[in-house]
């Protein structure tokens, strides 16, 4: 009888895990970045580390400072959010998810004026960088990145979580480590 109850409990947990595995939410990081050349450049923000060299090669600056950012987890693909600094705001309106990524409408505001409006299909594997106006001796860049699952999980681990989802993440990690 005890064994039967245990097996039923295991089956229920597995079913919950399977359901939770279907929840493939991604986080989109969007940032307002000032690129400029300085004698002693600060460390690049972690969100830009992966393509630091590409940014340096493309724009010719040695420092990239985030002046406004937002990280939004997309669950329905229909969310909208704002990354803003003192004078600029990037409004992102997601219009759904497709095979290639997320359909986004981007509006760059300078205070209340729209400087730039763009319709883009943001791929999960291809960051988007928009060259904005010259600001002082630097350059405003708009960066949008779909975060990897692993990065999202690292962020989630920092937040309180329930035992089932924590167990699921541990199991995924274990399976992932087993895979060649």
């Amino acid at each position: 009888m005890e064994l039967r109850r245990l097996l039923i409990a295991v089956s229920v947990i597995l079913a919950i895990m399977l359901v939770s595995s279907a929840d493939a939410a991604h986080a989109v990081w969007s940032g307002l970045v000032i690129a400029e050349n300085v004698p002693q450049p600060a460390a690049i923000p972690p969100e830009l580390t992966k393509f630091e060299q590409t940014l340096k090669d493309l724009f010719g600056y040695n420092q990239f400072e985030v002046i406004g950012q937002s990280s939004k987890t997309l669950r329905t693909g229909e969310e909208d959010w704002l990354a803003s600094s003192k004078y600029f705001a990037l409004h992102v309106d997601a219009h759904g998810e497709n095979d290639s990524g997320y359909a986004l409408n981007l509006k760059l505001y300078k205070e209340r004026d729209i400087l730039l409006e763009t319709e883009a299909n943001l791929s999960r594997s291809s960051p988007l960088v928009i060259k904005g106006p010259q600001v002082g001796s630097g350059q405003l860049l708009l960066v949008l990145v779909v975060k990897d699952d692993e990065e999202t999980h690292h962020r989630r681990h920092a937040e309180p979580t329930n035992p089932i989802s924590a167990g699921w993440h541990r199991l995924r990690k274990a399976i992932h480590n087993i895979l060649p």
Partner: protein, 172 residues
């Protein structure tokens, strides 16, 4: 007026008497054979009464009879009762079902993880579908799109001719 059969039955049971008995016996063609038949019928009746009549039991007999019946019921075929209570979900079947579910879960889990390796790059690039710059504030602005040639696959929307802003606008 009684029929012959009624009188015959009453005679067999010894219920005829007096003149009626004399009249009936005198009407019989062979009284001796009829009396033999009457005796046989009475013997049979007595036998049936003795053998088929309700047996009365004392309290002790009844109690021990009930006990014997119950013991016999329980020891006769123990599997029959269990079969009546059991369901399809026996322990071995549950074990096999659990193992099958676990195997399916692992297979699907591996398939999903392989499909979504964190470092894996999809074939798709970010696409710019449409882009416009405020023409009033930036009449000479132009927009171009390209992708980086390296492995990062960065899609760049390159604007030129946007109005420059003072350094104060770099404030957080």
């Amino acid at each position: 007026m009684k029929t012959f059969e009624e009188k015959w039955t009453a005679w067999l049971d010894g219920q005829l008497s007096g003149r009626e008995l004399i009249e009936f016996e005198s009407s019989l063609p062979d009284l001796a054979a009829a009396k033999v038949e009457k005796r046989d019928a009475q013997k049979l009746g007595a036998f049936l009464k003795r053998e088929l009549g309700a047996q009365t039991m004392s309290n002790e007999e009844f109690f021990s009879h009930q006990l014997r019946e119950r013991i016999a019921r329980e020891t006769e075929d123990p599997s029959r009762g269990r079969e009546a209570r059991s369901t399809w979900w026996t322990v071995p079947r549950l074990v096999w079902s659990g193992a099958t579910a676990l195997a399916l879960f692992v297979i699907f889990g591996i398939a999903i993880l392989r499909e979504r390796q964190p470092g894996e790059r999809s074939e798709y690039l970010t696409q710019i579908l449409n882009s416009k710059v405020d023409p009033a504030a930036n009449p000479n602005a132009t927009v171009s799109i390209f992708e980086s040639k390296n492995e990062n696959k960065v899609t760049v929307l390159w604007t030129e001719g946007l109005q420059s802003l003072p350094a104060d606008y770099a404030a957080q």
